[in-house]
């Protein structure tokens, strides 16, 4: 057993010191009837690296990896090129195999990194402060709704139709048990988001309006009016960003008046990972910081007067507050936050803007090309790197048909809204810098063939 250092001689010597006849004697508190006399039956025994690697590789090759085909999926998870440096650095044992920095004197690496991450996230989202990360965008969204309820002491949240349906579903799960009321309807295949309808729904019971930017159909709308309306009613505006790269090209939600901005940070540094682990971004105004969930790194001094960093404001957290905590969250997505922060550092402002511009350029190219395909209608007038098209037919079947020809064409709205036949023609197409012009052509050709 290559991971277990104790030899039989060690074990015997240790038992002697303990004064126990056998290891089994140490399990005396387990009732005899519950103690297994040998390995769990029906399961294989230990295996060498070679065998394990072969098994896992066999499973891996039964998947079509995104990089091996023309690839246009987005809908909350985006494929970007991650510099090799990122993965190298996050694999350093000192980052990878450290725990939560409870002993700050020997965890400044993690703590300073989190402080830098918080600053990067706050600036990107246009907020005063950010936390040290959450599980992912959807759970950050859930936490934002709960936080708005705590701040406003109201229980009704209005969810924009453009909010990712899985995020809606996640918030609904929370609401089902906390008793919050949610107002929500799925989107229509129109070019404009439904800001005006949302404004009409705000009332004195409203804790917050939750709006995604760019939204699930890739649409981009100015949030300022929505923010004003929410604030006028004593409600908060929660903005959700599932594609942070977009903020290299378009204005930040914070700058448009959002009170809480949450997001999915997977685009930078983390990769697709079949959906997890991802990286929840969470930022807000200074005045709400004590209602914010999750870990926070803060600056302080050591006994010698040197700058240092610690986990702080833990009086909000469960290990101190127990049932009165702002959240039950106990883990952040530390290593993903590190990856995000390194990627963002490599990009810097200049690189982020260039990356965003390249995404948008290719997306415009793709939209123009697809618009020429008979039976395809591009829905969006404004978008960043993802847009919706409507096709003559059922998009879900078309996606499957193209997948069988090794083109991963996008995310069908039929998959996201299975009970909404009126959206079945919709297909979301995401175009990042990893897409080549040949890939766009392959998609166009594939759609042409499928829509004949």
């Amino acid at each position: 057993m290559r991971y277990l250092p104790l030899t039989e001689a060690d074990r015997a010597a240790m038992l002697a010191r303990i004064g126990a006849p056998t290891v089994d004697a140490l399990f005396v508190d387990v009732p005899e009837s519950a103690r297994l006399s040998g390995p769990v039956e029906g399961l294989p025994g230990h295996a060498g690296e070679l065998a394990v690697e072969r098994h896992m590789t066999r499973l891996a090759t039964r998947n079509t990896s995104a990089g091996s085909v023309p690839f246009f999926l987005g809908a909350g998870a985006y494929r970007h090129h991650i510099p090799a440096t990122v993965d190298h650095l996050i694999q350093r044992g000192e980052f990878l195999t450290a725990y939560t920095p409870y002993q700050p004197e020997i965890a400044q690496g993690t703590l300073q990194m989190l402080f830098e991450f918080q600053t990067q996230v706050a600036r990107l989202l246009g907020c005063d402060v950010a936390n040290a990360s959450m599980y992912d965008g959807s759970t950050a969204c859930w936490e934002a709704v709960a936080m708005a309820a705590r701040i406003t002491k109201r229980k009704k949240a209005i969810l924009a139709s453009g909010l990712h349906p899985h995020y809606v579903s996640t918030v609904q799960t929370m609401a089902r048990f906390t008793g919050d009321t949610l107002v929500y309807a799925p989107p229509a295949l129109t070019a404009e988001p439904d800001s005006e309808a949302l404004i009409g729904q705000i009332d004195g019971e409203t804790s917050c309006v939750v709006v995604q930017y760019p939204d699930i159909l890739g649409r981009i709308g100015d949030l300022s009016a929505l923010a004003d309306a929410a604030h006028a009613a004593g409600a908060l505006l929660v903005a959700v960003v599932t594609e942070p790269v977009a903020l290299g090209a378009i204005r930040s939600p914070g700058a448009m008046g959002a009170d809480i901005v949450v997001g999915e940070g997977q685009s930078l540094g983390v990769g697709l990972q079949f959906g997890g682990p991802y990286l929840g971004l969470f930022a807000t105004r200074d005045k709400y910081v004590r209602q914010m969930p999750g870990r926070l790194a803060g600056e302080t001094q050591d006994a010698a007067g040197r700058r240092g960093f610690v986990l702080t404001l833990s009086t909000r957290e469960q290990h101190i507050r127990r049932e009165k905590a702002t959240s039950n969250i106990c883990t952040n997505s530390g290593l993903c936050a590190l990856a995000f922060s390194i990627h963002m550092t490599l990009l810097g402002e200049k690189g982020l803007r260039a990356l965003a511009a390249e995404n948008h350029r290719l997306a415009c190219l793709a939209a123009d090309r697809l618009a020429q395909v008979p039976g395809v209608r591009v829905i969006n007038t404004a978008f960043f790197n993802e847009f919706a098209i409507a096709i003559d037919g059922d998009a879900r079947s078309v996606v499957r048909a193209l997948a069988s020809k090794d083109v991963l064409a996008g995310v069908s709205l039929g998959r996201l809204y299975p009970d909404r036949p009126e959206l079945a023609a919709g297909l979301l197409v995401a175009v990042t810098e990893t897409v080549s012009e040949e890939d766009i052509e392959a998609l166009a050709k594939g759609l042409e063939e499928a829509l004949v």
């Binding site: 195999t97 700050p104 690496g109």
Partner: protein, 485 residues
Amino acid sequence: LEEPLLFELGTRETCGVDLPVPSGAASARLGGLERDGGIGLPGLSEPETVRHYTRLSRQNYAIDLGIFPLGSCTMKHNPRLNEKVARLPGFADLHPLQPEATIQGALGVIAELGEWLLRLTNMAGVAMSPKAGAHGELCGILCIRAALEARGDAREVILVPDSAHGTNPATAAFANYRVESIPGTVDGRVDVAAFKARLGPDVAAVMITNPNTCGLFERDMKEISDAVHAAGAFVYCDGANFNAIVGKVRPGDLGIDAMHINLHKTFSTPHGGGGPGSGPVVLSEALAPFAPLPFVVQTADGYRLVEEEGAADQGGAQAFGRMSAFHGQMGMFTRALAYILSHGADGLRQVAEDAVLAANYVLRSLDDVLDAPFGAYGPCMHEALFSDKGFGEGLSTIDVAKALIDEGFHPMTMYFPLVVHGAMLVEPTECESKATLDQFIIALRGIAERALAGDAQLAQAPLYAPRRRLDETLAARKPRLVFQD
């Protein structure tokens, strides 16, 4: 050398990637929302980036550098094989919404890992999507609530022992339950009588950690479970300490209805400075139908991913909803599965045995100098609990912890569990050699003797770390959470 902040090193003109220069002429379709003004994000060239983070990393302690005996955190060796397989493009470079035909291997990983978890726990169902232990707790409690609602039984109270992790009451409260705390017994276990006495038609569940946070096995678990079930309630087990019993005891045999499993504890996925975690929840027959979406089922045509609520034909009729956007922590599943396959059923059992052996070795090597509150009541499980009883004037657990830093070791968990004054919880895990344990014991013994003798120097520790003690009060009083230019 001190490492400056990124914001002190970088400039807005520097860039560590090569990208096409944006042509300003492009007719953007951004709805008139072009970002103007600076974002305030400095960049570094690639060599500077490597150096910044390499240097930062060296200010961290890590399991790769030495023993990390944090009680209840289970810091064990993180095999690099697992990192390697998790990075296979066939796993790492998959989109969660790819068509099923293109992700059969990935669904296979989820199914295979789930099967192992079921067999190791002897339970009926498993929810794979929770993203960490606390998220798993919430998932379990929500299953319980769903099951109770399904039978029209509105209950309001969850009972939690006073030794529980803070996440337990926090979770129960988040799920809108009223939390009642049940005190423990003198030997560090839950008070069975108190529990039984409190059971009634308003109690939805009890949440018990087993092995518990004092490092002890709850001997009467089955008796409690039976009583809870008899009262129409459910038993939630916090599986944070599953490492002590994996392959030796199956929670399903003890009447547990739901238990989360921290893959980053028992199954070695790296902690990464605080996450990501992964917290699948195993469920009893009674709770399994309420498991959240999405989940994987095997059909004649291969694996299917059930994502739709009310998909009755696939067993999703009673699913309580979705815990998060996608299918869970795939990157952790691949690592955990590789770890499990490496150990096999025999190796996992050995893991538990060695972990318990190592903890008892620490306990019995130090209980003559350190107070062991429950030491007289028999062996511990995977962690040894001490207290600061008898320390000299002004010295407490924190001083011992910080002094360990100066000896080159990461401290144990301090002041937890709360039920023991000045608690020191040492969890060596199965991954330490006897030589390392002996070094650690010698160091801790020396410090303990100094603490008992009232050596005031201990209050100055650490002296040989990248930082002396940090002022946490200052940090909390005047929070500086972001860099200000």
